[in-house]
């Protein structure tokens, strides 16, 4: 479809803010290139959710100047709770809307060559690395219109690079705070783990108040080079009025490993893609997602692992709770490409519905172009088992508390995987609040 769409921006606008940012030419050119393609490529088509009437593209202004959260002591309580303050702040980046704020990286990691900084700074100071990996191996700008939109207008994010043979033991955390609906959150996180390195990274997307509106277009790319291991945890808690497109994409070289633990707790309409391409032989992806849908929320979660390399292994686990009139769609795709012999694609999706009007859908898809492989799937959509409730209640536990236990238990396999204690606690609290 090539209908002419009126955007609130044009090429001149992009050129001018790119210059204002002091971005190098290559980055500006990529923006413009993506912008010129935008019209010609279609919107993404999440299976079983119609998004034609959703606004992902219109906004009032491209960025706002927000108070930089440069001092942890001044942070609102809701943010302080996400941080492990007790052990001392080690590796943390905080961004307020589009404004880069607090940044900390231990001297030890700096000395080892680890780079952790906001995206625009990285584009300027670490151009060679960013140019090589930014939207080249993970998400491509011409995949669909929202990817092009993202490449053209990205206005925030972070860059993390782990050099060869460096093992980072302390987690690295980003907190992206959104409380101004005038400007879109077009946020990009690029993680590159060089050969034989390892790292744990956790990101939080958080709305400071329930009233926040607007659009979010989020991409996180994880490039895991040979024999590296990357663990990514995320908790998204954007407000009801925020329409979100979020894409978390992994790329593995030989023997590399990516583990995702995603707490998808937005209150607004959300389209989420989590795709990992297992390119190198022997590489592994383990991806776990928990979701809660409530209110009138419509959400679609596509989790895909594509096997290109031989002996690759992919495991998808998704558990979702849906209440009120919310709709949650789970699409799980295990795709084994021709040549990826001895690969193993497994997936499990479960949806628990808490109300009559809630809608849940779990679609397991296996696409297999190779003979000598293993693949399996399990999917279910159902309600709280009355016999389980009876069992818990027969021990004196009131119905509501019994339901709460069952729900927490249902989400536990992912919650327990989150690597930062504060973030895990936050997720448990959010779940608590949302299922009440």
């Amino acid at each position: 479809m090539t209908t002419q769409i009126q955007y609130p921006f044009d090429q001149g606008f992009i050129e001018s803010f790119s210059s204002q940012n002091g971005e190098p030419n290559w980055f500006k050119e990529r923006r413009i290139d993506a912008f010129t393609k935008m019209d010609q490529i279609p919107m993404p088509k999440p299976d079983k959710t119609k998004i034609t009437n959703w606004n992902f593209i219109e906004f009032k202004q491209h960025s706002v100047n927000s108070a930089p959260f440069s001092n942890v002591e001044e942070l609102p309580e809701s943010l302080r709770r996400l941080i492990d303050l007790e052990g001392g702040i080690k590796n943390l980046y905080i961004q307020h809307n589009q404004t880069a704020g607090f940044l900390s990286l231990t001297d030890e990691l700096k000395d080892q060559g680890v780079i952790f900084t906001d995206l625009i700074t990285a584009v300027k100071n670490h151009g060679e690395l960013v140019e090589k990996y930014f939207m080249t191996k993970g998400v491509k700008p011409d995949e669909h219109r929202l990817a092009a939109f993202h490449a053209a207008l990205v206005n925030g994010g972070a860059f993390l690079y782990i050099p060869k043979n460096v093992q980072v033991t302390e987690p690295i955390q980003s907190i992206f705070v959104h409380d101004n609906g005038d400007a879109p959150l077009i946020n990009h996180v690029l993680i590159v783990a060089d050969e034989n390195s390892s790292v744990t990274y956790v990101e939080n997307y958080i709305s400071l108040n329930d009233q926040t509106t607007g659009i979010a277009n989020i991409i996180t790319e994880v490039i895991a080079l040979s024999n590296s291991r990357v663990r990514v945890g995320a908790v998204d808690t954007l407000a009801k009025g925020v329409t979100t497109y979020v894409n978390r994409r992994g790329y593995t070289d030989r023997d590399a490993q990516i583990e995702w633990a995603l707490g998808m707790m937005n209150d607004g309409h959300t389209i989420s893609e989590n795709e990992t391409n297992l390119i190198g032989e022997g590489s592994v992806c383990d991806t776990k997602t928990v979701v809660i849908g409530r209110g009138e929320q419509i959400q679609n979660f596509t989790t895909e692992v594509r096997h290109f390399g031989k002996n690759t292994e992919g495991t998808i686990l998704k558990h979702g709770v849906v209440k009120d009139r919310a709709t949650t769609v789970f699409n799980g795709i295990g795709k084994i490409e021709h040549g990826a012999t001895k690969s193993n694609a497994q997936q499990e999706s479960r949806v628990l519905m808490l109300s009559e009007k809630a809608r849940g859908d779990a679609n397991p898809i296996l696409l297999i172009d190779e003979d000598d492989v293993l693949a399996g799937h399990a999917a279910s959509v159902g309600r709280v088992d009355p016999i389980q409730l009876y069992y818990l209640m027969s021990r004196g536990i009131p119905r509501e508390e019994a339901e709460r236990l069952i729900i927490h238990g249902f989400l536990e396999p992912v919650v327990s995987q989150l690597p930062i204690e504060g973030v895990k606690k936050q997720l448990i609290e959010v779940i608590e609040r949302k299922v009440q």
Binding site: R395, G396, I397, I406
Partner: protein, 263 residues
């Protein structure tokens, strides 16, 4: 509250519209151990489930009271907090919830807000009871009944009994599927509860359990009713002679009312 009485009067219970219990009368007081015996399919488990409030069972007539309070009017959790306990024949598995969290929630539900059991006290009690029942201590951190063997599930039911300290407990075929060693351990646990403030209703179709737990009263159930009651000697006679003499005595040809359902 030293003395508690559970009174069952003319209890009729149906499942899916089919009547299974056809007028059961029974009274259990603190300090008493009762055994309800009978062949399969005579309504024993239905009695247990109906008293606890299993959602599938419908009481069509009669009453169940605990110290005069109407049990049938209570929600399942209220029945438990009033002092009733049912060790189930087929306990549910609750994924993601540890045994320890489950038991703590259960104990605190009865103790009430502001009166929660101190964590150390809870851990000490749980360790103590698990040791008594010869349960591996890591079972506290395993998810409730998930991946448990049949024997582990039965022990876990008795562990809950010991932890929750009810006034009246009903044990629904707690002995089925247990080897003799496990049976002894389970009996030891149940016997440790024996005191003047605790009453127990043991449902079984094997006399075997009663070699380790001596009941004060024995009742035989057939066709959805208690057809004969007596002392421990009745259980011994059943062991020796089976049920046929009772059927003959009462002129019963087919003692069953149902195919026993899995709860």
């Amino acid at each position: 509250m030293a003395n508690t009485t559970l009174t069952i009067k003319d209890l009729h219970v149906a499942i899916d519209g089919k009547e299974i219990l056809k007028g059961v009368n029974l009274e259990i007081k603190s300090g008493e151990f009762h055994a309800v015996m009978g062949p399969n399919g005579t309504g024993k488990s239905t009695l247990a489930s109906a008293i606890m409030g299993h959602p599938k069972y419908e009481v069509t007539k009669g009453s169940v009271t605990l110290d005069g309070k109407d049990v049938l009017e209570m929600e399942v959790d209220e029945r438990a907090r009033a002092g009733l306990f049912l060790a189930m024949q087929y306990p549910s598995e609750i994924s993601g919830v540890t045994n320890s969290d489950f038991l703590r929630s259960a104990i605190n539900a009865t103790r009430g807000e502001g009166n929660e059991i101190p964590l150390m006290k809870f851990i000490k009690k749980m360790d103590e009871k698990m040791e008594l029942l010869d349960i591996d201590l890591n079972m506290a951190q395993r998810y409730v009944n998930e991946g448990f063997s049949g024997g582990e599930k039965k022990r876990n039911e008795i562990l809950q009994l010991l932890m929750l300290d009810p006034k009246i407990a009903i044990l629904d075929e707690i002995d089925s599927g247990l080897d003799i060693d496990a049976l002894k351990v389970v009996a030891k646990g149940i016997n440790s509860m024996r005191n003047s403030e605790f009453g127990c209703l043991i449902i079984t179709h094997y006399q075997r359990l009663l070699n380790y737990i001596t009941p004060d009263y024995v009742h035989v159930m057939m066709q959805g009713r208690i057809v004969k009651s007596g002392g421990p000697e009745l259980a011994r006679r059943l062991e020796a002679e089976g049920y046929d003499w009772i059927k003959k005595e009462l002129g019963i040809e087919d003692e069953t009312v149902e195919v026993e359902q899995e709860a």
